[in-house]
Amino acid sequence: MKTKKTLGLAAAASITALSGAWASEINIAREMDANNYDPHKTTALAAAEILFMLGDTLIAIEPDMQTITPGLATSWEMSEDGLTYTFKLRDDVKFCDGRAMTADDVVYSFSRWLDPATNSPVNWRAGEVESITAPDATTVVYKLKSPFSELLYQLTQSFATIIDKNQVEAMGADFGIQGMNGTGPYCWESWNPRDQLTMTKHAGYAWGPDFYENKGEAQIDRLVWQVVPEENTRTIALMTDQTQITQYVPYIALEQLKSAPNVNVVQSDSAFWTYFIGFKIDKDTVADPAVRRAINMAVDQDALAQGQFFGGVLGAHSYISPETKDWDPALEAELPPYDPAAANALLDEAGWVPGSDGIRVKDGVRLAPVGYFFTGSTWQKLSEYTQAELRKIGVDLQIEVFDATVAWGKMATQEFDAFGMSYPYVSAGDALNLYFPSTNIPTPNRMNWDDAETDQWLDEGKAALDDATRAGAYSKVLHKVHDANVWLPLIHEPRTIVSSTRLAPIVPHSNYGAALYKGLDLKLVE
């Protein structure tokens, strides 16, 4: 018995000793891989979390998601008409291959982002660009055709990562697949899709954002990003120290992990990632505003957050979380309360009569909206919970599930009544400009929300030159879409990081959901 025990312990020790080849190496577990690591050709969170570490942006954003802070640019200026931004760059920045970064690289990166030949799905995030030029090696002039109050926030995103022209041209279609030479705190080592991506620290790195205690070289020599699709495996991998840090921990495990001796759990205070169900407002089943309001009153989001997610998320009552930049607190009193009885009464009043099976009918229309959802355990919980709640008011939500890659195509059609979606955002403007302009029908404005006032206010917000004007314009949009109950908000998801106690605790970042952001504070405890 005794020998057996020692054997087990010795072997356990050897698991941790596996990383012996490197002075310090940690394994980071995540749920899925990205399709590629070309900043202009992917919108995946899995890509953003890698790109933030491999590369840098001109400006960075603090964990509060409000404050813009210097990155590769030491300072920037906006002209009075809001059309010209001038960035002053650091002169000591080097790519991983040792070449010095200059303003030309910045111009190249942004030009490629905007070039129609790149087919970037996210080039709208760069604004309506007139020209981007480099008067000298450390100055970049970014000229817009019309003001874009979101620009600085958009430039903190991974899409605005500065890339290496020489490498892009040398690699062609393999850029972001075979390699990605950036200026970030870590350098690309290798990638085996759906399995592992490894990176090593960038020697000589010295331009980390100010809010990091460590602005210099990374404190870990090598990072191994391991794809582990199974929730249970990720959890036990953490508990057995096969992985040292992850932000993809099932909520059910959080409580237990919090009390586990060898694991730290930290959660961001606020959430900038929201799950919602959107309604196609011109479909018979959900065209009636009373139906949409009743649905919003029938679902108990707080119980959902507690019961299905064990309190690891926040019940969402609004389309963006109340900590978001330009959120209007005055709106909170107007949001529909949870009240199934009132919801039932509202539907009765509107003429929706329960049939023999309990499902309401009006003018031959059965209240059985077809909802399209993604596969995966989170959407399974959300959709099945909503289905059960809505049944109580005589609404029979039909759940149809699609794998992510197929789902995007299906959700671009007009064949459904409702759709489940989740998204990260930096500000109210970021969220609203994505989903509500009529020009974004049929996708991402899958609701077919076609409203001249909304369009006008969104333009006002975009063109605003001061904070008050911008916040005022977006507030009007927020009021309008919440009043119309275009969505059913479900949960706001904060970033949670679970890590081994061998690592120093980390403050989770919320930028695009990439909780480790630049990874500069990853450090082994002595």
């Binding site: 249970n232 959890t235 019961g307 099945e384 059960a388 759940i399 599930v401």
Partner: protein, 295 residues
């Protein structure tokens, strides 16, 4: 008339007369058959036996079975991650799993055996049928299931179809090999000599002489089909929520392995017991009916 009688005499193997008695004399087989029948009956009666609606979720999530700490008698086997009664889901899930296996084996085995018999009966057809079977064999069931799901979307139909199609080539091979042996026997010659039609020869002699072997193959195949079907469901390709199916239940339960292992273990054990009893019964059936066929 005399030819027919002669053939009937050949066909009636002595061991078959009391095959059921012989079967029940083997204690392992007897237990397996009784357990299997009990499970099948319970599954068939699921709507009447199940204490709860299998899709109804309560706020009582991840309750352990009644014999464990925290277990309550209202939920004998506990509840799953959505707070649904596991016993009720188990009953409905078993019904679904058995149905999937049964339909797939009967349809696939039936078509495959027919093709195999035809191949043996009409030698012209033989290369075509067996070559096609080879092509089908190079698409293993799991890939077929994946491909069909890609076309039809996840659901029970593509899984049944995949399992049925995957059963076709194997049963064609078995049926052919048995039938080729039968075709060599004298009564077929005799039947032809007295001018019996192909149809009569095929149905009354060939089919009747091969049917027991085919049945044995199907019963042995049943367990394998159940396992494959549950693997497909486990991968998320089978039944869609909120329906109950054992493989899917196990799959949903694996996320809770650490904190509520019973959610995955109970349906897995149910699959194990079903397949085990089917295999033991199938083996015994083979030993009793056809001691020669041992592969």
């Amino acid at each position: 008339m005399s030819a027919v009688d002669a053939a009937a005499a050949v066909e009636a193997a002595p061991a078959r007369r009391h095959w059921f008695v012989a079967l029940m004399r083997d204690p392992a087989a007897a237990i397996a058959i009784i357990v299997f029948v009990l499970i099948a009956v319970a599954a068939a009666l699921a709507p009447w036996l199940a204490p709860y609606d299998p899709t109804e979720s309560t706020r009582n999530m991840m309750l352990p079975p009644v014999w464990a700490e925290r277990g309550i008698p209202e939920h004998l086997l506990g509840t799953d991650g959505q707070g649904r009664d596991i016993l009720s889901r188990l009953l409905y899930g078993t019904r679904m799993t058995l149905l999937i296996g049964l339909i797939a084996v009967v349809a696939g085995g039936g078509i495959g055996s027919l093709l195999g018999l035809l191949a043996a009966f009409y030698s012209r057809l033989d290369p075509w049928i067996m070559r096609s079977a080879d092509v089908m064999l190079s698409f293993p069931a799991i890939l077929l299931g994946l491909a069909l799901v890609a076309v039809m979307g996840a659901g029970i139909m593509p899984v049944i179809l995949a399992l049925a199609i995957a059963t076709v080539p194997d049963s064609a091979r078995i049926a052919r090999s048995v039938a080729v042996g039968v075709m060599k026997q004298e009564f077929v010659e005799a039947g032809r000599a007295v001018g019996l039609s192909d149809r009569t020869l095929f149905t009354r002699y060939l089919l009747r002489n091969c049917i027991s072997s085919i049945m044995i193959f199907m019963s042995l195949r049943f367990g394998q089909v159940i396992l494959l079907g549950s693997a497909l469901s486990f991968l998320g390709l089978g039944a869609r929520p909120p329906a109950s199916e054992l493989g899917m239940m196990a799959s949903q339960g694996r996320d809770f392995m650490l904190f509520a292992p019973h959610i995955a273990i109970i349906p897995s054990l149910a699959i194990f017991v079903i397949v085990l009893t089917a295999n033991v019964a199938g083996d015994a059936l083979r030993d009793v009916l056809d001691p020669r066929m041992r592969s």
